[in-house]
């Protein structure tokens, strides 16, 4: 038996909504509500467009709705639907209005744009052209490079790992008390997307050095300028990429 179009519509939309909710309910990794809303608008629009692409199917889709209002035989069903719909609307409105006490959703740029220049360690840096001075040892002197990475690891575990984690996954043992959460380094969507000069800027200037869109008031990242030497910072950066198996982004070569 073929389902009526309206039923198909409701089932498709309902099933997709259910699927989008699944990660949140069963895996504890919710898809943000803001995104589910956008997805659902797209899905509803697409299904509606497909179903109205021919006259026959348009007619079939809307017939039951039209019949509800126009067909005197369906007066009973209509009355029920007409009674229930405002109640549902009221319920939704209540839900939305009583959310007043929820703090507003925040949009924070995780990778805000760096300044073109910065001054640190008493001298200016041009972030656009800045390179990790230790990086070249990777090709030239593998042994020296390994020793830099090892030193970087030691610096990391003495200074950074409380927040950024043993596994470099941004889940150190103090991370739960911080908002925003410390950044992870593993994965393909964090430092793998950034050049070493960018990471250098973030380490040296820390949370207080973030631009407005990065939320400088909340970040617990210290400005490491006064705590680590320049060379130490570069070594830590070598370690971050080495441990996670990522490569720093090299803009110039991507032309």
């Amino acid at each position: 038996m073929r389902l009526p179009k309206l039923a198909q519509f409701i089932i498709i939309v309902g099933v997709i909504y259910g699927l989008l909710k699944t990660p949140g309910i069963f895996l504890g990794k919710p898809i943000p509500e803001s995104l589910i809303f956008m997805y659902m608008v797209l899905i509803v629009a697409t299904v509606l467009l497909v179903m109205t692409s021919t006259d026959e199917s348009t007619e079939e889709l809307f017939r039951p709705i039209r019949a509800l209002v126009e067909d005197p035989k369906k007066a009973f069903v209509r009355n029920i639907v007409f009674a229930v719909t405002p109640l549902i609307a009221g319920y939704i409105a209540y839900g939305l209005a009583s959310r007043g006490g929820e703090p507003p959703a925040e949009l924070r740029s995780i990778h805000p744009a760096p300044p073109s220049r910065m001054s640190a360690y008493g001298r200016p840096y041009d972030i656009a052209t800045l390179e990790n001075p230790l990086r070249r040892t990777e090709k030239e002197d593998a042994e020296l490079f390994r020793s830099y990475v090892a030193e970087g690891a030691e610096i990391y575990f003495k200074n950074c790992f409380f927040c950024h984690g043993d596994k470099l996954d941004g889940r150190g043992h103090y991370a739960h008390g911080l908002s925003p959460r410390p950044l992870p380094f593993k994965g393909k969507d964090t430092i793998a997307q950034l050049s070493e000069s960018y990471v250098f800027w973030r380490v040296v200037k820390g949370g207080p050095g973030l631009p407005a869109e990065g939320g400088p008031a909340n970040s617990s990242m210290p400005a490491w300028e006064g705590k680590l030497t320049e060379e130490e910072v570069w070594k830590v950066i070598l370690f971050l990429y080495d441990f996670t198996g990522n490569r720093p982004r090299e803009w110039a070569r991507e032309k």
Binding site: V69, A97, G170, R171, H176, G177, A217, N218, S220, P222
Partner: protein
């Protein structure tokens, strides 16, 4: 008999299966992931070790805390090893944490596969020459269900046996100074915060701790017939059920919590009491200050709970936290319990000096200062304007504070003037507010303290119109639309 047989054969099977773990292959895994804390030779002396509390395990001793083999068996079972390394996901209720709760040992399940784990276990055993355990794990089948009677019996035993260390109400406020076998300071667990239990908080996990003890610490095995405090199996279950019942869920920080301040008519209370029942506690995780200046790596305080009341002119905060000691400098009993010199306990509430752009949560900056209300348990109360970590200035603005300490719980009431701009009629404002606490017996003073980041405080609420009004409005609008539609359809019909 049959079950025991099966049990043993499973154990034997797993033991043989694990025997295949390769020490040589375990070494590189250890070197990459473990040595930073546990040290090159496994002596618990990696570069990070000095900053960790509890300190990382010294594998050369072969003493493991979280095992299920009996107290007189040194070796943990392989299942114990796997849990210690890979984590107990079912027990992790702190967001993002997948390892041993309250320690820096994460769960490695996402990094180490089964073979890697086996190899690393073999390597660890090799460090201390541990053999496979001779004795099977203790029986963890539930013997006594957590009934009212069981809990009551457990409470009695707890008072006799456990309260010396864990405190009368189990808040970790015992009368005994504790050290582990290596001499490191340890603090007894606050049993009202099960999410801080290292290896699980279900009655069965607590039962395991009672039965096995926590090797290397002063937590003994209560199954040891040599001990003066031996408890029978049923008694241990009773205590486990009682301890599990101590859970005070409100102390567990929620997700995205907002402090909802409640409006009262008339004056605000100066001290804790029944007036505060109108408001509900919101709790927040505390983290030690490791950003600037002197840093703290051995926090004793895990969370803080806050209630807020306000009237037209003033606002009052009730801040509650569990502190194992009332730290009064010079007091003999405080000195006995303290880790080093006794400093004063303290608490601080911080908010922006003016609304608009948020100031830096770590005491503001010269252009965006913060206001701080500060209290210490000798009665000191200060109102401060801070323009950066060490740039502070006392201001007088009618802030008062009063604190009390009872059975491991401290409550402090702050009262001060309400800022007009916090209550704008047209919009609900979220006032940033942060907290900091000092446990003086833990050497906390100045920059060494625990703290929260900015949280949100919202006053009043409901100014945007009652949810019921919105609901009613929606009902009416939709109904009218329906009628219009119906009328249109009728007309078309005709």
């Amino acid at each position: 008999m049959r079950t025991v047989f099966i049990f043993i054969s499973i154990l034997l099977f797993s033991a043989t299966a694990f025997a295949s773990g390769d020490v040589e292959q375990g070494k590189p895994v250890y070197e990459k992931y473990c040595r930073q804390c546990h040290g090159k030779d496994g002596a618990g002396d990696g570069p990070a070790a000095q900053y960790l509390n509890p300190p990382p395990r010294d594998f050369t001793l072969g003493i493991y805390k979280w095992k299920t083999t009996p107290f007189d068996e040194l070796s943990p079972s392989d299942e114990d090893f796997i849990k210690m390394i890979k984590g107990w996901p079912a027990h992790n209720t702190v967001p993002g944490w997948d390892g041993l709760n309250g320690t820096s040992m994460p769960g490695w399940a996402d990094v180490l596969g089964d073979n890697d784990t086996k190899d690393v276990i073999a390597y660890l055993k090799g460090l201390s020459g541990l053999e496979a355990p001779e004795k099977p794990p203790i029986d963890l089948k539930v013997k006594v269900a957590p009934s009212k009677e069981s809990i009551a019996r457990g409470k009695k035993i707890f008072g006799d046996v456990c309260s010396e260390c864990h405190g009368d109400e189990g808040r970790g406020d015992g009368r005994k100074k504790l050290k582990d076998d290596l001499g490191a300071r340890t603090w007894p667990r606050d049993l009202t915060k099960p999410w801080t239990f290292r290896a699980g908080s279900a009655p069965v996990d607590i039962y395991a701790r009672l039965t096995v003890g926590i090797p290397g610490t002063q937590m003994p095995s209560f199954a040891d017939p040599q001990s003066k405090k031996t408890l029978s199996d049923d008694e241990r279950w009773d205590v486990a059920n009682y301890v599990a019942s101590l859970d005070a869920p409100y102390k567990k920080p929620g997700e995205g919590a907002v402090i909802k301040a409640v409006k009262v008519d008339g004056p605000l209370p100066d001290s804790p009491g029944a007036e505060w029942d109108k408001a509900a506690f919101e709790s927040f995780y505390l983290v030690p200050q490791i950003i600037e200046g002197e840093r703290l790596f051995t926090p004793t305080l895990a969370s803080v709970s806050v209630k807020t009341l306000f009237n037209d002119d003033e606002i009052a905060f009730l801040i509650e936290w569990d502190d194992p000691t009332d730290s009064v400098p010079g007091d003999a009993s405080a000195v006995d319990l303290s880790d080093g010199e006794v400093f004063k306990d303290g608490a601080a509430v911080e908010f922006p000096s003016s609304m608009g752009e948020k100031p830096y949560f770590g005491m503001g900056s010269a252009s965006k200062p913060v206001d701080i209300w500060f209290w210490q348990n000798d009665g000191t109360v200060r109102a401060i304007k801070a323009k950066g970590a060490s740039i502070v200035q006392d201001v007088s603005n009618g802030v008062s504070a009063r604190g009390m300490y009872e059975k491991g719980t401290r409550q402090v009431v702050f009262k001060g003037p309400l800022k007009r701009e916090w209550r704008e009629e047209d919009a609900q404002r979220f006032v940033p507010v942060a907290f900091a606490l000092w446990d003086g017996s833990n050497g906390e003073k100045g920059g060494r303290h625990t703290m929260t980041g900015w949280n949100s405080l919202v006053l009043g609420g409901g100014e945007g119109g009652s949810p019921y009004a919105w609901a009613a409005g929606a009902v009416v609008v939709v109904f009218i639309l329906e009628l219009l539609w119906l009328r249109g359809a009728r007309r078309k019909d005709k």
